[in-house]
Amino acid sequence: MKPAAFDYVRAESLDETLDVLRNAGGDARIIAGGQSLMPMLNLRLARPRILVDIMRLKELRRIEPRQDRIAVGAAVRQAELLQWPSLDRELPLLSLTLPWSGHVQTRSRGTICGSIAHADPSAEIPLALLALGGEIVLRSASKRRRVAACDFFLGVMATDRNDDELIEAVEFRVSNGRRCGFREVARRHGDFAIVACAAVTTDRGVRLAVGGVADRPVAREFETLEGSALDDALNAFAWDLDARDDLHATARYRRDLVRMIGRELIAEVTQ
């Protein structure tokens, strides 16, 4: 399994990266850490004509606070965010989720934005971004635009990003005293989730986000946090996710996990 041939561009500035994307008409792909894209290339599920390596662009290698958010640039590796000294305080949900995202051997190279761009429905980083109410900052040669996480993920490995756009950064909303929790069921720690759930307290109740079940991560706000009314609401959520049977688990098992983990997590964050 080897990638098909491509031209390799070692980008030296953001402008030239955006120029390549504009001129390639969908035939160029950005490579950062490569931990999602390289398997796609090796399996020839992706055959871009041009690969643009952005890892030498220092301006994309920043973790910076912006008002009530933390912006993570396109070249920031998952291991770097995990080692960021303020992570526990500012983004405790990511302290919980990142250790579940791949393995130490893939987090060392994989980037935060790369996982968002790849949009695997069972991936932990898109789930955390959705649970926290984050935004994706997209940049093309002509403009910059922001998309809320809830509007960005469109389906299995499908996003709102246009071919000429680069994910310049993603912005996570800081915790600001909100409580959070995370739980995942997978065959092996670090493998793709059968079901992953993240919960964050909000002004009205708890936002519960679920990955691994629908064709994208999905979040719902729960206002009633106890009793059979909560069970009914979680059950309705589990059915609305339209789970399917696959090699790893049955749809029913997935719904069971959503109901059970959802209940546990909501209890945990509202204790």
């Binding site: 080897k2 070692r10 980008a11």
Partner: protein, 173 residues
């Protein structure tokens, strides 16, 4: 802007096990194939070629990484270390390797090179790594022979010895 054409071979320079590498390769060449076929260092094994099995794990700038998910061109200017760097020039096994041998932490040995590299990087970062951390690192590797228990045992003994808590008795027969 540096644009390297698909069908041509391009110059690449990096450090492999302390020695400078200055060669040519096509953009699509994986680091695994470059190390094995161009350099001829066959200690790094190729398993699944999509990042799952961990057999090809090498050390890039101090971090364990999948060589099959890395293009050779991506390590331009980097310091890469493979399993060949763990024994000394005379071929004597390192502490971790000796512990693997003593505890029968390998049978067929296919996964071993990658596991050694991951554990070596762990101990370089955290000399007092405990069993939970060792097992966490091992989740990134598949071993179909040992059931992992002897690997954990060997790793724990190597960690103890690397911290200088016990004296090592040579086991060369």
């Amino acid at each position: 802007m540096t644009r390297l054409a698909a069908e041509q071979r391009h110059r690449i320079r990096f450090t492999l096990n302390g020695e400078a590498v200055d060669r040519l390769c096509e953009p699509r060449m994986l680091l695994t194939d470059f190390i094995r076929h161009e350099i001829g260092a066959t200690g790094t094994h190729v398993g699944c070629e999509h990042g799952v099995c961990g057999a090809c794990t090498v050390n890039i700038d101090g971090q364990p990484a999948r060589a099959c998910l890395t293009l050779a061109l991506q390590v331009e200017g980097c310091e890469v270390r493979t399993v060949e760097s763990l024994a000394d020039k005379q071929g004597r096994l390192g502490v971790l390797q000796s512990a693997f041998r003593k505890h029968h932490a390998l049978q067929c040995g296919f996964c071993t090179a990658g596991i050694l590299i991951s554990l070596d990087a762990l101990f370089a970062r955290r000399a007092d790594a405990d069993e939970a951390e060792i097992r966490d690192v091992l989740t990134g590797h598949l071993c179909r022979c040992t059931g992992y228990a002897p690997i954990v045992k060997a790793a724990l003994e190597a960690a103890t010895e690397l911290r200088g808590d016990i004296s090592h008795e040579p086991i060369d027969a």
